[in-house]
Every structure is written in C-alpha cells, then in structure tokens.
C-alpha cells in the first residue's frame, strides 16, 4: 500500500523530472519540493490562518482575562481556552498540520531517493519494478547522484582543516529555525502555548538537523529548499514575524 501509493509515484515523478531537465538529480529534488509545496498550499494557508488567529487571541481582552482569572487552575484554564477556540473557529492543531503532513512526505522522499539512486543490487531490482510504462529509463539508469559537491545518496560533510563539517545539516538547522521563529506568534509571559512554541522552535530544527546529518544528503536538499520556500511565502504574504528572530525581542 505504502509502496504503491507513496514510494512508486514519488520515484516516478522524481525520475520524470530528472529526465526532462537534463539528468540533474539535485535540481530534480528542488523542483519536486516546489511541486510538493504547491500541492500542500491549502494546508499552509490553513496554518497561516491558525497562526494569525492565535496572534489576534494574544491581544483579545477575554483571552487575557481568563489567563489572569484561572492562572492557578490549569484544568479550568484549558477548558476555557478550548471554549474560545471553538467560538472563534480556531483550530489549535491547524498550525501543526503542515508540519505533520511533511512527515510521510519526508519518509516517502527518503525511500524514493534511495530507490531512485539504486546504490545496491536490491534497490536497483526494486527500482526496475517501480517504473511506470511511460518512462523510458533505460538511458537514464544509473542516475547521476552528484550535485555540486554532494553525493545525494550519502550523508554530506565538508572537510575543513581536517574536520568533517556537516554543512547541509547546519543549513537545515538554520533555515528550520528561521522558518519556525517567523511563524511563531508572540506570546505573553507565562503563556503555556507560547512556551511550548518556543521550545519546539528550538528542538524541532535540531531534530531536523540530526536527521539531515545521518541520512542521504538528498533529504537535506529537500529540507533546505522547503524551508526557504516557506520563509519566502511568509515574507511575500507579509506575515513573517521578523522580530522573533532576535532572542529576547518581542513585537
């Protein structure tokens, strides 16, 4: 099921893009990421709506009142918050959904990259079974896995003064951090959701960086492209919260 509906279509789309753009797998991953971003646009819009709703709530009188009134009764505070979410039509999970929808895409893309690059006999055999009839891949197999200084089928690092520096993983951490900070609404002191958001905006980029460091660099290319597209989207829509990038500074 996973193979038929996720990995095989992704692999074929990647190979099709690779074929039409002149056999550059790095560019194929970048274009594939743009395609995924376009397809998940409605979810991103929902995320932005949710984030904006949360931002407006921070200044809402009723919201501020219940924070004070129930500051010593967390259970009641949570109930009241849920009531307000319901009344205002805000989905508190709406801002998580685009992040979560990325997870199957990340797993599927990782498996598709490994399958398309076919670095082992079994993956080459699996690739031969995964091809749609419209693709004539005889000429393009094996794929050129090199892009700039990277081998997209392997973890990446640059040798600097004898040390292997995982430059892509560092870029993944930086771009993930910038994106998550730009999307994090400003929070009031003592606000539990704000503290949670701040925590996630630190730990999530580190986690993504760790994934980028140990897995194929093609996946890192996807992370970086996706993050840069996200940042550009928010900036162009005028919703990027740039003040959040500077620690300690609030809008």
């Amino acid at each position: 099921m996973w193979d038929t509906y996720v990995i095989i279509p992704m692999t074929n789309v990647l190979l099709w893009i690779y074929d039409i753009i002149g056999h550059n797998f790095g560019v194929a991953i970048i274009l594939f990421t743009i395609l995924i971003r376009a397809l998940t646009w409605p979810l991103t819009a929902q995320q932005l709506k949710g984030t904006q709703g949360m931002q407006e709530l921070q200044k809402d009188k009723e919201w501020l009142d219940i924070q004070k009134k129930y500051k010593n009764d967390k259970e009641k505070l949570a109930q009241e918050q849920m009531r307000i979410y319901k009344e205002r039509g805000i989905n508190p999970f709406g801002s998580c959904l685009p992040t979560l929808i990325q997870f199957p895409i990340i797993i599927g893309l990782y498996q598709s990259i490994i399958r398309a690059l076919a670095a082992t006999p079994l993956s080459l055999l699996n690739l031969s079974r995964s091809l749609y009839p419209f693709l004539d891949v005889t000429k393009i197999i094996p794929l050129n896995s090199h892009f700039l200084w990277m081998d997209l089928g392997r973890p990446e690092s640059i040798n600097i003064f004898g040390f292997a520096v995982p430059s892509l993983a560092i870029l993944v951490v930086i771009t993930s951090y910038i994106q998550s900070r730009l999307m994090t609404p400003p929070s009031n002191p003592g606000d539990q959701s704000g503290a949670m958001g701040n925590m996630m905006s630190v730990y999530m980029p580190l986690f993504m960086g760790y994934i980028a460091m140990i897995y194929a660099s093609g996946l890192s290319l996807y992370f970086i492209t996706s993050n840069l597209l996200g940042i550009t989207q928010y900036a162009l829509m005028g919703r990027a919260n740039w003040s959040n990038l500077i620690p300690g500074r609030k809008e």
């Binding site: 949570a78 999970f93 998580c96 997870f103 797993i107 498996q111 197999i141 094996p142 539990q192």
Partner: protein, 358 residues
C-alpha cells in the same frame, strides 16, 4: 496543550523510528547472498556473516566473524577462493572492507578498507594480484598479502567481477560501458558502449569473445579483435548476471522471466524462449547433462540442453543468487527464506538445508 505536546512529540518519535527502520532494513537486505564452493565446503556470504558449510552434511565448518557480527559490514559478493588457501570476501556495508580469510578455519588474514565506495563485485585473482572493482568507479590492485599496489579510475559504478584473458581485464560498469584494461600498461585501452546499464559481469568464451547483457534488453557479443559488437540479440526483459557458456551455446535468463538459449556464433535463438514462473537473475548452472536455473518465485528448474524440463523443485524464498555446483550437489542460496542454503542432488531432491541460528 498537553495533547498538542504529546501529538508533536509522538510525531517526532514516529518519524525517527520510521526513518531508522528504513535504513536498518536497507542494511539488513541490500542484496542477495554470494555463493561459491570447492570440493569440501560451500562458502556463503550472507549479510554480516560468511559461512563455510560442509558439503557432506550441511553443518557449519566455520563462520566469520566467529561470534558477534559487525553491523557495519555486509557481505554479498561471491567469495573468491585463491590457490594459496584464502577466501576473499567483500563488504557492501558502511565500513566496506575487503577481507581475506583462512579457508581452513575462517580466521582473518588481512583487511583492506581504503576504498571510497562499497564492494558489490567479487574480485578476480590473476598472477598473484587481486583486482577488485569498486562502486567508486576504481579498480583496486592488491597483492595476496593484502598490500595495496595501485588504484585506477575506470568509470561508473563497477558491480561485475572482471574476467581476464591474461593480457586484459574486462570490466563492466553501470555507466553502460564494457572496458578493456591493459594489465601491462595499467590503463583502459578500449571500450564499447551498450544500450543500458551493465550490473553483471561479462562471460569470456573460449573463442575469445565477450558475452554480456544489460538493461538495454539485449544479449551482446563483443569481439576484442575488432573492439566492437559482433552481434546483438534482443531479449524480452533486462539482463542482470552473465550468461553461461557451453559448447557453442549461450544460456541466459531475463527479468521478464524468459530463459534463452542462443547460438554463440551469431546470437540466433536455438529454441523458443522458455518461460518459467518468475524473473531470472542468476547465471544458469551448466552440468554435463543439464542446465539449472532459479527464479524469483523460489523454484529451481533443470532442463536438458534441448530445452525440455527434467525436474523442478520448490526451494522457497527468492532465488537471485547463481546456483553453484559443489561436488555432486547443486546449491541454491534463497533470499527471504529461513534456510539460506539448500543442497539438491542431480535429480532435484533436497539433500540438506542450512538454517543459521538466530
């Protein structure tokens, strides 16, 4: 908020578990087993272990490593036996070592770990030199003591064991080329481009010609005298391992599940392609009396040299590894099967099977 926290943390844990699961399963089974045999033992390279299995009873003579497996090594290339009592094994794992083992007890003589890429091809020993093609596109030369002699860039990823006529090594590459490497000059002197990637080796005929298939779905004969293609015969599917050559006839199976017998002179079919029940990857085994193949669906077939089926035996698993003759036995190394080595007699009856301890 607690629910949200659990939701996000759960997703993070799920992602890391799934991704590590992907790579772990890839490590466990990134190829099918490699198999060779002498008159006493079968030598099976299967993942983290290499086994010597006694042909008389299917018991383990030795295994390497003797106890704990190194998770960074994955042995899949057919083990190569040297005249001086070494078993050379090659790893596709992250450490990708080339190792020499003592044929009597499996003790490690030496290892070579300086190649940039992994080893999928078996090495070839010519005149006390080990020639080992690597997925990094280089051909590595070592002496029999494991000392590095030189490395030369050939091109593409080299997955097939070289063949040699004593003057040249003939190397196949995934970059669609057959390369002729002059052993004196230590350089590629000519090459021929095929219509697809070449994952398997070439077969060198007694007539001096090279016979090889590719993902271009064609069997090709290359004449080193003219350095060009002598004939080309289309097949129904992609071709993986090299053909078996016997008395002017070439036998090969394809990934669409057809088994072909061609005239080595001109590539003309000798009989209509036989279609068993699954794709054929391994090189057929030719004995004095019959030809044996294994299919992906786990069934072994024996045919006479006119193409008539003599017997078939359900081995189980997937038969990708070349069947090998060990003494009077026919050996199969099924993948995805509890028994990783099965011995048949010449009538197709199972003599013994080897199941490793878990």
């Amino acid at each position: 908020m607690k629910l949200k926290k659990i939701f996000i943390l759960g997703a993070v844990v799920l992602l890391s578990t799934l991704l590590s699961g992907c790579s772990a399963s890839a490590m466990r089974s990134n190829s099918w087993a490699g198999l060779s045999a002498d008159t006493e033992n079968a030598f099976l390279a299967n993942g983290s272990f290499v086994y010597a299995i006694n042909l008389n009873n299917g018991n383990v003579t030795w295994q390497y490593p003797a106890e704990k497996a190194d998770s960074k090594e994955s042995y899949f290339a057919d083990p190569v036996l040297s005249d001086d009592g070494q078993v050379i094994v090659a790893s596709l794992g992250t450490n990708h070592s080339l190792a020499s083992l003592n044929i009597k007890n499996g003790y490690q003589n030496w290892t070579f770990s300086d190649a940039e890429g992994a080893w999928i091809a078996s090495p070839l020993i010519v005149d006390e030199t080990i020639y080992a093609p690597n997925t990094d596109g280089k051909l590595y030369a070592l002496d029999l003591a494991g000392s590095f002699l030189w490395a030369k860039h050939i091109g593409g990823a080299l997955w097939g064991q070289p063949v040699s006529d004593g003057d040249f090594l003939y190397l196949t590459s995934l970059d669609h080329h057959l390369y002729a490497f002059d052993l004196d000059k230590k350089e590629v002197t000519w090459q021929v481009e095929l219509s697809g990637a070449i994952p398997g080796a070439a077969a060198l005929g007694e007539d001096g010609k090279l016979y090889l298939g590719s993902f271009g779905s064609a069997m090709v004969a290359v004449d080193p005298q003219t350095q060009d293609i002598a004939w080309e015969t289309p097949t129904k599917g992609w071709l993986w391992d090299p053909p078996a050559l016997d008395d002017g006839t070439l036998y090969v199976g394809d990934l669409e599940g057809f088994f072909h017998a061609l005239n080595m002179e001109d590539g003309s079919p000798l009989w209509d392609a036989f279609q068993p029940d699954g794709p054929i990857i391994g090189t057929p085994l030719v004995t004095d009396d019959f030809v044996v193949i294994g299919t992906e669906s786990g069934i072994a077939y024996a045919m006479d040299k006119e193409g008539k089926t003599l017997w078939q035996q359900n081995i189980g698993g997937r038969l990708y590894t070349n069947p090998v003759q060990g003494g009077d036995l026919i050996l199969f190394a099924p993948m995805e099967n509890d028994s990783i080595l099965v011995a048949l007699d010449s009538d197709g009856r199972q003599v013994w099977q080897f199941t490793p301890e878990k």
